[in-house]
């Protein structure tokens, strides 16, 4: 393989992590039952957050002006990101990713649902390049499945979005209604950072809460690791053989580590999980995808080696995380990659996952 980085900017890009947000929580009112309104704007009542972040979540240079939050104005975001970087499709991943940390499962489900309606009304019609996720609160998987069925046939919806923070690992059977509904609606399941250590969820590290946001951010991927490990070990991909799961904003370099460790242990401990018919890494390579941001930044040849170890030509998808503080620009990430790998990561892997070249078009023509 040619390992020289490419400088070409001509290839198409799909951004798998593009954050739209509200101008204020008031925006949810038209979609939210009246009973929940009093707590919507009360301090700390809607999104529980434990650890102070010295750098604000959103880039201050991405504000649309008038004091509005970055990512709250579709027209500004279209210019500032889609047009600037010539992005062909952007998967909207929203801004209520702490919702799984709320103590009230009904309130959590209601605001997730309101947010989904807001996205479909205020963002999706603004640009054909936007694709939607259905955010669900995982506290009550039956309510989550109901939400997936409510919106799953919308032609622009491509995935179900689960915040990674959770009281229980996602491979466990109580979450199966979510996977059943995703499969029923031909949707990808996306697991995105959010809610780790907040509210009702277990601590950010496995040994307790860290002292600083630096310490927190360094270890966040353990939540992605824990969910992936659980989903594979519990045989979710045997139960739902068509299910695809994408892990967003967890970085990448932990994936080879986990695959090697799982495969090694499988040789000696397979008898605990007789439902697994293949090596764990084979399930991962076939069913799981991982997005680049926040990409690790070793020197370039080490990065390419790491990508090779995780079969990135099949498993890795590009993401910006616009407009959050730790977003990656397409040029910064993609110019590191040799030609064919760049094409796979920038576009092809995502186009295949979300069936953008084929069935998605068909889906738009089908009334359900």
């Amino acid at each position: 393989m040619d390992l020289a980085p490419t400088k070409s900017k001509s290839s198409s890009i799909i951004d798998c992590d593009f954050h739209q947000t509200l101008k204020s929580f008031e925006d949810l009112k038209p979609y939210l039952p009246r009973v929940w309104w009093p707590r919507l704007c009360a301090p700390e009542a809607t999104l529980p957050i434990t650890i102070f972040k010295p750098i604000p979540l959103s880039r201050r240079d991405a504000s649309p002006g008038k004091g509005l939050p970055p990512g709250s104005d579709p027209q500004y975001a279209i210019e500032d990101a889609l047009n600037r970087y010539n992005i062909s499709k952007a998967v909207l991943t929203g801004s209520l990713l702490t919702v799984s940390a709320h103590n009230n499962p009904d309130y959590a489900a209601a605001i997730a649902s309101a947010f989904n309606d807001y996205t479909l009304d205020h963002w999706i019609p603004t640009d054909d390049r936007f694709l939607a996720s259905i955010l669900v609160a995982t506290q009550d998987p039956v309510l989550a499945a109901r939400e997936i069925d409510r919106l799953g046939s919308h032609p622009k919806v491509v995935q179900v979005l689960l915040p990674v923070g959770s009281r229980e690992p996602f491979g466990q059977r109580r979450f199966y209604p979510i996977y059943e509904a995703a499969v029923r609606n031909n949707l990808v399941v996306a697991i995105h950072g959010g809610g780790e250590g907040d509210g009702i969820n277990p601590p950010i590290s496995a040994v307790g809460q860290p002292t600083t946001n630096f310490e927190r951010h360094n270890i966040l991927a353990i939540h992605h690791m824990s969910q992936l490990n659980s989903i594979v070990c519990e045989g979710v991909f045997e139960t739902f053989p068509t299910l695809k799961v994408i892990f967003i904003e967890g970085g990448l370099a932990w994936v080879p580590h986990l695959m090697w460790r799982m495969d090694k242990n499988f040789r000696g401990m397979r008898n605990e999980v007789p439902w697994l018919k293949k090596k764990p890494s084979e399930y991962i390579i076939e069913h799981c995808r991982f997005t680049t941001q926040p990409i690790e930044e070793p020197d370039n040849h080490e990065l390419i080696q790491m990508l090779s170890m995780m079969r990135a030509e099949k498993t890795v998808l590009f993401a910006t995380d616009y407009p959050h503080w730790d977003n990656d620009s397409p040029t910064f990430v993609l110019n590191k990659l040799p030609g064919e790998l760049r094409r796979r990561i920038a576009y092809e892997n995502a186009a295949e996952l979300y069936e953008l070249n084929h069935s998605h078009v068909e889906k738009e023509g089908v009334s359900r």
Partner: protein
């Protein structure tokens, strides 16, 4: 060396940064109340517009669990990944020899802020 007449004294308030296009280069002129600093408006990490970040101070090197605030007004924090730069030298705090942003000499002449390119 060329002199560029950037702004009038009083045009940039204390703590503010005015971003100008100077001969095709985007450069921020920052005023700390005493001196003016001219800093290239491009972060060496991911090419964000650095001068749209925050001018502030930082925690100085200390013993574990000792917090000393200092360099107030001497640090520019990138609005993207939070990288800190010394406004006087352009050097990043963590990796000063590898990541440096270009800074230019600034003088005040006849009530004008002049950047030496």
């Amino acid at each position: 060396m060329r002199k560029y007449n950037a702004a009038e004294v009083g045009e940039i308030e204390v703590g503010d940064c005015k971003i100008l296009n100077i001969e095709g280069r985007s450069i921020g002129i920052y005023y700390d109340g005493e001196n003016y600093f001219a800093i290239r408006n491009v972060c060496p990490h991911e090419q964000a517009e650095l001068c749209k970040g925050t001018f502030t101070g930082t925690t100085l090197a200390s013993k574990p669990h000792e917090y000393i605030y200092g360099m107030d007004g001497e640090i520019l924090v990138c609005p993207w990944h939070g990288w800190e730069f010394n406004v006087k030298t352009g050097q990043s705090l963590v990796d000063p020899n590898k990541y440096k942003v270009k800074v230019y000499d600034v003088e005040v002449e006849n009530n004008r802020i002049v950047v030496n390119l």
